[in-house]
Assembly symmetry: C2
Homo-oligomer: 452 residues x 2
């Protein structure tokens, strides 16, 4: 294990992060950017060492895969390929070149003469980022944290132990040459139970899990610290009676097959009863041709069986069980259900959706607006693939993750999700007892072009 | 108990709120405002009935006070005085006349031709508001919830049972004449353990406790639902070496004595060592004259004992114990401590403050800026009383409460704190597989003057 990773007690790690946070808040944007440049250059110089460490992790993982103790997909995520390496390095500079999110004035109000209220963006404080396999996340998250003025505790998984230690050493050495306080990025890789860190709600302000549904669910169940992320991505597409056939086929096949393991892939197809015998057979044929298994409720199955779908395809139809409508398949399987119409679709989504991204296919603007108003998910789409739900595709440059929370930040979360605000009141000795009924009134005037 | 309060099982109450939430999202701003008008008029008409019910609660409370089973201050909060009644009614109309917070576009971006992304403000969903004595909170919170398009479960305390039932009946009858779904405001007053409601994290999105520190702490410890509010309000004022004597005396006395039971009253006074023998004796004299008990650390006590403070006052000085610096006294008691300077003050506040509101008294702008940057509290004040930390004083018109959370909303929280956003993507059949490296590029252009 590298000396850059700490084996201090979780409470000490968390307290150090909280103390460093107060120092980091006073570090200028230029100094935070300089730190990102330093990390970028140091990583570039250390490519060989890091890739050699990654090779060790890959070999250990392959042994576990061969022994049936690790999924091949997990082993794949460990691999720092040439393209991952390059986009990791590029990502650091992309984040550096974003506008400084710290210290923006979002409200300025004259409470009285010489008594001015400002709401100013500020870092949340201390982040705990827990991840499993992908080692490049370290550089990505450390950049986002420093850019936003937050201190971060990075807790890596054992699968990427060597890669993690190597990158940690380089990041740590690079930061030592900058004006960033030494406790701003702590890289933790102890055998200690993850619970011990999740207990530090006194010092840690936000947990960001980057890994499997199981990891996210475990974390949500074991901490009082707010968690930013999503466990499930159970996305639905509703095909209204007037949906366009070509758009429907393209969007649904893309949403299911473009990357089936992604959280924004579609898992449930809801079909208006009037479209069950008209549109559904054509959509089903396109899906079956793309290798998708279809799990049908009785109405959709009956409609397909009595359609002109060829008999070979009809034989491939499966019966859905109730759990299918609550399952994130993450593979080429789709649950299909016939609904009475918009109300029924909205009801089904409300009961079964994970609040990630849900879509309607219709040519009727009024129906689309009603769907987008009534469905309460982070993303509500009209005639577009659910696969667009992604920070890069939204133009956020980079993302912390995708949130299905109902407060703070939803959907793809960029730097903004790592910020909060504080109220600054700048006075001249004013006291509250001088104001109120029968005394001085408040002015409450907006300050134009505020400058602190 | 009135028929307007429900005794349904907590899971059914919560599920009803969630289902109604999806209907309420589609109710227009005009219809939501009309509901507030209807509540206002119905309450006005029912004044006698409600005040008679309140009288019953007051009599029951007085018996408990006489028997030593209830604090007089709690009994006082139960009372619907003429001025409380009027400001309750006025508050409903004030909220009604605020700008509609639902459906504002906060981001509009062209992802590609015919593929437009909008971020639109939307209600959080289902609120659970738990309160103790003050019955007027029902009208206040129901107004805020309806205005922001959130459904709300109001859980009252047993102290205000009769007032609660009477107001609930009126609100319920009034809403039945409007376009608001019947499950939008549910008034719960069962003997059922509060825990059963706090377990409904599947349906409830935010808990707002309105009551004592003990209530808030209990709720935070017993739910996975996010809680908006604060348990402690442990505010500090730091007197820098160059603080102005008159301002210091006025601000500190106001912050301590204007309303000692408030969360924004000062509890700890930190004094620069150079000011201990110069400013502190004058501040201490003003505080003692105002009837404040002073709990001093050894340095401040020594400084005061050797000062020109009169001997009677010197005899009144108390010794502080370590816990005093973590205590929200909520009465005329103040803990005093000498610090080495700004760094030491920031460190003390970081370790002991509840993150509510902290203040510096100084004539040096640079020192003030450093304090306001480095202290991470919802409110950071320069030369102004901590008592200004309040939604009305900030000009927010009304407040849900004051939050010491580090995410979502901090400080006095108005309607904005009950809102989140969703992303709407409006397309024309676009699929993600058409974009990316070697394929179509994203445009990511800002849409000027967006209109949906």
């Amino acid at each position: 294990m590298s000396s850059a990773t700490t084996s201090a007690a979780p409470a000490d790690i968390a307290r150090t992060a909280a103390i460093s946070s107060r120092t980091l808040k006073a570090v200028s944007g230029d100094d935070r950017n300089a730190a990102l440049t330093a990390i970028h250059e140091a990583l570039k110089r250390s490519k060989d060492v890091i890739l050699a460490a990654n090779q060790q992790d890959m070999e250990a993982a392959q042994k576990l895969v061969d022994a049936g103790k690790m999924r091949q997909s997990l082993a794949k995520r460990l691999f720092l390929s040439q393209s991952k390496w390059e986009s990791m390095l590029e990502g650091i500079l992309d984040v550096r070149d974003l506008e400084d999110p710290v210290g923006k004035i979002t409200l300025a109000r004259k409470i009285d003469d010489g008594l001015d209220l400002y709401r100013v963006t500020s870092p949340i404080g201390v982040l705990l980022v827990i991840f499993e396999a992908r080692p490049e996340v370290i550089a990505n998250i450390a950049s986002l944290a420093l850019k936003s003025g937050n201190t971060v505790i990075l807790k890596g998984g054992k699968e990427s132990a060597n890669s993690f230690a190597a990158i940690a050493q380089v990041v740590s050495d690079a930061l030592a040459t900058t004006n960033i306080p030494s406790g701003a990025v702590q890289l933790v890789q102890t055998r200690e139970d993850i619970n011990a860190l999740l207990d530090q709600d006194q010092y840690i302000d936000l947990v960001v899990p980057r890994g499997s549904n199981e990891l996210v669910r475990f974390i949500k169940d074991h901490t009082k610290i707010p968690v930013l992320g999503h466990a499930d991505g159970l996305c639905a597409i509703y095909v209204h009676e007037d949906a366009d056939e070509e758009k429907a086929k393209r969007v649904i096949v893309d949403a299911k097959t473009d990357y089936p393991a992604a959280c924004n892939a579609v898992e449930t197809l809801l079909v208006h009863q009037s479209a069950a015998t008209t549109l559904l057979p054509k959509i089903a044929a396109a899906l079956l041709q793309a290798g998708v298994s279809l799990r049908c409720d009785s109405l959709s199955k009956a409609a397909l069986q009595s359609s002109s779908l060829d008999s070979e395809m009809k034989a491939m139809l499966q019966d859905a069980v109730p759990e299918d409508y609550d399952t994130e398949f993450l593979e080429l399987t789709l649950a299909i259900k016939v609904v009475n119409g918009l109300d029924d679709a909205v009801l089904h989504i409300g009961e079964h959706s994970s609040g990630h991204t849900d879509c309607i296919l219709t040519e009727n603007k009024e129906v689309a607006e009603a769907f987008m108003t009534r469905v309460d998910s982070a993303g509500v789409y009209w005639n577009a693939s659910t696969r667009f739900a992604d920070g890069f595709r939204y133009g956020f440059g980079t993302e912390v993750g995708i949130s299905t929370n109902k407060i703070h930040a939803r959907g793809p979360v960029g730097l903004e999700g790592l910020m909060i605000y504080k109220y600054q009141l700048r006075g001249n000795g004013q006291v509250a007892g001088d104001y109120g009924s029968g005394k001085k009134p408040f002015l409450h005037e907006t300050i134009e072009n505020p400058q602190i």
